[in-house]
Structures are given as C-alpha cells and as structure tokens.
C-alpha cells in the first residue's frame, strides 16, 4: 500500500485512493463490449439452431448454449472471475445445490409411475 504515496494527497485522500485500487478490480470496457458481442452472437446461434430438426439434440444444444451464456454473464458481467474466493465458493456451492435439487427431483419423476399420471 505504501509505495505510491503522493505527497500532495492528504492522508485521508491517500487512504481512499489505496482502498479504491486494492478493493475493486476495474474491468475495462473492452471486456464488456467483447462479452456483449459474444452473448448476442450466441443468441443468434441458438435461434438459428432451433430451425434445424435435430431430434433430442434440439433441447441439448439450446440448453448448452444457454449455460455457456449464463457462465459468461456470471464470470464477466458479475465479476466472479475477479472476485474473492468466498464469492467463487458461494456461487459454485449455489450451482451445485441447485443441480442436486433439480437433478434428484427430475430423476425421481422420470423413473417411476410411467403411464400412470
């Protein structure tokens, strides 16, 4: 923190300056622009893919693209790539719990009582 002390800044300003530099990883606009372009491209791609008849692969391709888009949003727009380990663990723990809950529920429904609803 102390290498870049500017004698013209008061101690208070210097503190704010240091805090700002140390707390926030400022993601540059060019990253946001690239992410925005990729997201719009993937949107076009998933719409185009829906026009092809691929049987069971239609939902797989569409959901795969959605997962890729969501991951990009979480990592860059939501800054998780640049965040603390606590944030990363929280997000990963949430995704894991979500998948367990949804996965187990679907596995239950899809494997019993066939034809009896």
């Amino acid at each position: 923190m102390s290498e870049r002390h500017d004698p013209h800044l008061s101690k208070h300003d210097q503190l704010l300056h240091d805090l700002h530099d140390n707390l926030e990883h400022v993601v540059p606009p060019k990253v946001y622009i690239a992410v925005g372009v990729v997201l719009l491209t993937l949107t076009g791609l998933t719409v185009a893919a829906s026009y092809f008849e691929m049987g069971v692969f239609n939902p797989i391709v569409a959901l795969f693209i959605a997962v890729v888009k969501a991951t990009i949003v979480v990592l860059f727009f939501m800054h998780v790539k640049y965040s603390s380990k606590l944030t990363k663990l929280t997000v990963a723990g949430g995704v894991f719990t979500f998948l367990v809950l949804v996965g187990m529920t679907l596995a239950d429904y899809f494997t019993r009582a066939w034809g009896r609803w």
């Binding site: 101690k11 208070h12 946001y32 997201l39 691929m54 944030t87 679907l106 429904y109």
Partner: protein, 249 residues
C-alpha cells in the same frame, strides 16, 4: 483506525482515518465490501432456488404432456422472443458499463448508462405486453375463458397452421393450459423482477445525478448490477425453454 478514538472535537480530519461510508462495525473497507457482496450473492442464491422450482415444474410437465407443450410453444413468436433477448442482453451490457463508470467516477456517463438500462428495461416490458396481448386475444390465458380452439383445430389458427400442427385429442389439448400457466408464471415472475429493477433504476438515476455513486462508494451500483444480470440469466434460460426447444415436436 479505531472508531472510539476517532471522533474528537477539533481533531484533524485524518484522525478519522477511514472513508465516511465505511460502517463502524467493519474493521476495514475490504471487510465491508466482502460482507455486502457475500450477502448479495446469498440473496441471489435464494432467487435461483425460487426460479429453480418453476423450471423443475416446467421440465416435469413438459415430459408428461409433451404434445401439449409442443403445440403451446408454437403459439409464441420467435421474432419477439429473440428481440427481447437482444434487448435484455444489451441492457446488461449498459448496466455493466454503468458499474465501470461508477468505479472510474464518471458521473455523466453513469447517468447515461443507468438511463439506457432503464429504457431498455421498459422496451423489454413493452414487447412482453404485446406478447401477452396476443395471448389474451386468442384466449390462451388460463382460466374460465381459456380456449383449446387452436389445438383441437389447428387449421383455424395461423401460428399452428404455419407449424403444420396435427389436431390434438381434447384431453391432451386441455393440457396446453398447463403450458400457458407455466408460461405466465415464469415470464410473469421474471417481469415482476424487471419492474422492481426498473423502479430501483429510477431511484438510482436521481441519486447518480446528485453524485452519490461517483465518490468511491459504489456498493449500491455494484450490487444492483448483480441483481440486473441475474434477471438477465433467468431470461437466458426462459427463452430457449419456452420458445425454442419444442419447435420440432
């Protein structure tokens, strides 16, 4: 940095050596930022679980009443859905740029970014209103006035005819009401989140014009950004599930 020694009448400014927006129960600004961002993520996880229930219900019913869900999905407009996805992603981009403007203390640009995000949010809701209007006209809103006309007699319906839909037996046609119930529940809850977000944006635009977020304290903008991007992610999944995956039933 101890708070108890800091507030002394006539003491020089640097005696109170932490930023004015640091709450006194936090040891450092780093701790405060970590704590608030952690809390925001925990809130978003509860939201994930909430929408997760709706997504799970959708997947189970789609599996059960597959022909009804295919026919129901053919009633949605790919054009409006795609346009709305693009609008929402663009609004996420302008919001992300807003966070950058706050971080780099650009007041005018921040107000501009928040205003663009606000307007794009309204455009999204406007398009959603057009789509809901079509459902109301065709009696595709679940309830007493629900009509299975488009599904038992697809030749009478432009959208169903364009997909070459076969007539559904009446019992399966009635299950299209389940599709539209989930359609309105999911897009409606999403739209409610948008409305709340737009209201908070209006508040933030006023505060940003007064210079509230360009003095180094950007927690509110940062955490609202997380909320707005989360709402975007929900739509990223709603769009393929409702509009795209059932086109070739």
């Amino acid at each position: 940095m101890s708070d108890s020694t800091a507030i002394v009448n006539g003491a020089p400014a640097e005696a109170h050596a932490h930023p004015p927006y640091q709450r006194h129960h936090f040891e450092s600004m780093g701790q405060q930022v970590d704590a608030t961002s952690f809390a925001m993520w925990l809130f978003l996880l509860t939201e994930v679980m909430f929408f997760g229930g709706l997504f799970t219900a959708y997947l189970i019913y789609r599996n059960w009443y597959y022909p009804a869900f295919v026919a129901g999905s053919h009633q949605l407009s790919i054009l409006w859905g795609t346009l709305n996805t693009a609008v929402l992603i663009t609004s996420s981009f302008t919001m992300a740029m807003g966070v950058w403007c706050a971080e780099t203390r650009r007041k005018g640009a921040l107000v501009l970014c928040l205003t663009l995000t606000f307007l794009l949010g309204l455009v999204f809701l406007g398009i959603k209103t057009i789509e809901y209007g079509e459902k109301i006209e065709k009696h595709h809103v679940p309830g007493f006035h629900y009509s299975v006309q488009s599904f038992v007699n697809p030749q009478s319906d432009e959208a169903a005819k364009s997909y070459g839909d076969k007539p559904l037996p009446l019992d399966m046609a009635r299950h299209t009401e389940v599709y539209f119930s989930l359609y309105f529940a999911m897009t409606g809850m999403h739209a409610l989140h948008m409305i709340i977000g737009i209201a908070i944006l209006a508040f933030m635009i006023v505060r940003a014009r007064a210079g509230a977020y360009t003095t180094g304290h950007i927690t509110f903008v940062e955490n609202f950004g997380l909320y707005w991007h989360f709402v975007d992610i929900i739509w990223i999944f709603l769009f393929p599930l409702l509009y795209l995956i059932s086109r070739h039933g």
